[in-house]
């Protein structure tokens, strides 16, 4: 009988998580939790990911677990709560989004975006070509699919009375938003993508 005690497993995941979270530099932000624009931006990018890939919503949770961020993004409900801190949502959760939670989301987004690099580039190229020719976006099926899914999700989840949502009452405007988010996702696929995304969340807030 050996008096040999092994370290309990929950701690190990915490230790594994922290280096990854520390890879994102901490921002000298005066606020206690994430600013408004950051919450909104994260939710919209996740929305774009869901619109890109059918398995998007499940993938987010799986990736979180794979990356060892399961302690921060605990379960589906928790993830939904975090995303619902977006002030444009119909049912806004009045809870703060902690910096750690935001970092975890950024890491997940970067990982998934890198996986979807090819698709993102294809869609953007198609969009540019159609625009140069002056043709409507619906010509390209993949692009059209993405845009339609994005619009559906957006209208379903966002509160139409909000000023930030009213400007997207027009479908064309919403399409433009979808394309813009696609471009931002493209930047997330780079080698410094997660860093760039994380820092960009605090532009104008510090």
């Amino acid at each position: 009988m050996s008096a040999f005690v092994s370290a309990p497993s929950p701690n190990s995941s915490a230790i594994a998580v922290s280096p990854l979270l520390d890879s994102l530099v901490s921002i000298p932000c005066k606020a206690e939790s994430c600013p408004r624009r950051a919450r909104q931006q994260l939710d919209l990018i996740l929305l774009a990911i869901e619109a890109l890939d059918l398995g998007g919503s499940e993938a987010i949770l799986l990736v979180a677990r794979d990356l060892g961020l399961g302690s921060v993004l605990k379960n589906r409900v928790h993830l939904w709560q975090l995303r619902s801190t977006n002030p444009l949502r119909r049912h806004v959760q009045r809870r703060p989004m902690q910096f750690q939670e935001a970092k975890a989301l950024v890491l997940v987004i970067g990982y998934i975006a890198r996986r979807l690099t090819v698709l993102i580039r294809q869609l953007l190229l198609a969009e540019q070509q159609l625009r140069d020719k002056g043709e409507p976006r619906s010509q390209n099926f993949a692009l059209d699919d993405y845009l339609t899914r994005f619009r559906t999700h957006f209208r379903k989840r966002m509160n139409p009375k909000r000023a930030g949502v009213v400007i997207y009452k027009d479908d064309e405007k919403l399409n433009d938003l979808a394309v813009q988010l696609l471009k931002q996702l493209l930047f997330c696929t780079g080698t410094a993508g997660t860093q760039r995304l994380w820092v960009s969340l605090f532009d104008g807030e510090v």
């Binding site: 540019q128 931002q184 410094a192 760039r196 960009s200 532009d203 104008g204 510090v206």
Partner: protein
């Protein structure tokens, strides 16, 4: 040793040529030429080629650093949507967003570049994917420890200061505009308020005394005193007199302690002012006994106190002389017919103000004294044996006798002269402890005709004050005088003044009847 680094991406290729640091010798490499492990420390040339775009961008280290910084900043702006207020100034490389979703890249030639490129900047339009590839190439180069290891990616969020305000200029200007307009409106509203011309201290407004050399400030102490008109109609006076008599008799009879005899042995004389309804608005004791036995008579209880503490304004008043005899009799007679008796006591604020409207002295409100009518100048001046200059005029409204007749300017001059004359004589230090009042009569040239002390104290100290022989006749005793003041001698030539000598060395001279109200 020539070193080369290439970062290839689908749309962009970044090629760096340079050398390793000659100072460092890579031991791993060994041998000649095998410096593969050495980092590229010195850059010779950097070239950036973007697919389908000409020309190829070339430059040295400066160009490379400028390119890296500009591209990195622009990428952050694309990601967040927040633009900086001031872009990099003096930068060789600039990026701008365009309407069609593309991006314009401007590259300015370096200083001292060959004249081949000229001074016009190179301009390129990049699609987003091309831009991203450029960003990625730069990121890879910066992250490479083997290439210019001193350069690294530095990302900082844009501080709040550098972000232009989200509100439009119009919205931001609303606040200050509201403030300024509010101020303008308030200023206009307050501008319509009248500027006060006559500023007085409360409490002293009723004493038109004259000190030093300043000719009297205002004509009438309008401060707290309100001019009341005197009732002159004989019928009315009679009615009021009867009422007053009845009231006083009743009140005195019902007073407790009236069963025993009254405590005084001589008549108590008061000057009482009443309103139209015989309501007593004020009274003043005219002899010493009256002051002492004030409690025995019901005057204090019957006095009507207006709620705001001042005299009822504008109401016509009637004045009577009331006598309370030891036999418990009350005798009332109208003041204009009454004699000026020597009460032997004059209030310190003996500045009689003469107007057609006067109010009584001894009222709760600090009003000035009033001379009722010019006739019996209410002088408790004992020495008033001789006719008072402003006497014998039952018509109060004339008020234009004697002192009143002199214009204000003359009055001021006379006052000054009297003051000077008295001041010259008063050289000794005051030994008395209370103010001494004298009645001074002067002619129109300012020469003192007679001077009379008002009370016994004044008489006592007259010598000390150097007043002996200042005028023709000395003072008489403060005693009751026969009602002889009705006659008036050269009324128009003589002016009466009141001189008060105070223990603190101050001399005050003022007209006996006060200043004329120019109403």
């Amino acid at each position: 040793m020539q070193l080369e680094r290439n970062y290839r991406l689908p749309n962009c290729t970044l090629a760096l040529e340079g050398m390793g640091d000659p100072g460092k010798f890579d031991s791993l490499g060994g041998g000649l030429g095998s410096q593969a492990g050495a980092p590229l420390a010195i850059l010779v040339q950097a070239s950036c080629e973007i697919l389908d775009q000409t020309p190829v961008l070339r430059g040295g280290l400066t160009f490379l650093t400028h390119l890296s910084t500009a591209v990195s900043r622009y990428a952050q702006e694309c990601l967040s949507g927040v633009q900086r207020r001031h872009s990099l100034s003096g930068g060789l490389v600039q990026l701008q967003g365009l309407e069609n979703g593309r991006h314009r890249l401007l590259v300015f030639p370096e200083e001292g570049e060959g004249s081949g490129t000229g001074h016009t900047p190179i301009e390129m339009e990049l699609t987003t994917v091309q831009l991203f590839d450029l960003v990625e190439a730069v990121d890879q180069f910066l992250a490479d420890p083997q290439t210019l290891p001193d350069l690294g990616l530095l990302l900082n969020p844009i501080p709040k200061r550098e972000v232009p305000s989200q509100e439009s200029m119009a919205q931001r200007a609303v606040g200050p505009a509201l403030g300024v307009s509010g101020l303008a409106i308030a200023a206009a509203a307050l501008f319509t308020l009248p500027v006060p011309t006559d500023i007085r201290r409360p409490g002293t407004a009723t004493q038109p005394t004259q000190t030093a050399a300043s000719p009297g400030p205002a004509k009438l102490p309008t401060g707290l005193e309100t001019p009341n008109s005197t009732i002159t109609d004989p019928d009315q006076l009679e009615t009021i007199q009867a009422k007053l008599q009845e009231r006083l008799t009743q009140a005195w009879a019902s007073q407790p302690g009236s069963v025993e005899g009254p405590g005084f042995s001589e008549d108590l004389i008061y000057r009482v002012t009443t309103g139209q309804d015989a309501q007593i608005v004020g009274y003043r004791a005219l002899n010493a006994a009256a002051t002492d036995f004030d409690k025995e008579v019901p005057l204090s209880e019957l006095v009507y106190l207006p709620p705001d503490g001042s005299n009822p304004t504008g109401e016509p008043v009637a004045e009577f002389r009331v006598r309370f005899t030891p036999e418990r009799e009350v005798k009332v007679e109208p003041w204009s017919a009454a004699i000026a008796t020597a009460a032997g006591e004059i209030a310190a604020d003996a500045g009689a103000s003469e107007t057609p409207a006067d109010s009584a002295g001894f009222s709760p409100a600090p009003s000035s004294l009033a001379t009722p009518s010019p006739t019996a100048s209410a002088s408790p001046a004992a020495s008033l044996a001789s006719p008072s200059p402003d006497a014998a005029e039952p018509n109060t409204s004339s008020g234009a006798s004697s002192g009143a007749s002199s214009s204000t300017v003359d009055l001021n001059t006379l006052t000054e002269r009297v003051y000077d004359a008295l001041d010259q004589r008063w050289t000794a230090d005051p030994t008395f402890t209370e103010a001494l009042t004298y009645r001074v009569e002067v002619d129109s040239s300012g020469k003192i005709q007679r001077l009379a002390p008002v009370d016994s104290d004044a008489e006592q100290y007259a010598q000390e004050l150097g007043l002996e022989g200042i005028a023709s006749s000395g003072g008489a005793q403060p005693s009751d005088l026969p009602s002889a003041s009705a006659s008036s001698t050269s009324a128009s030539a003589t002016t009466v003044f009141q001189a008060i000598f105070k223990p603190n060395g101050v001399l005050e001279v003022s007209p006996w009847d006060g200043y004329v109200d120019p109403q």
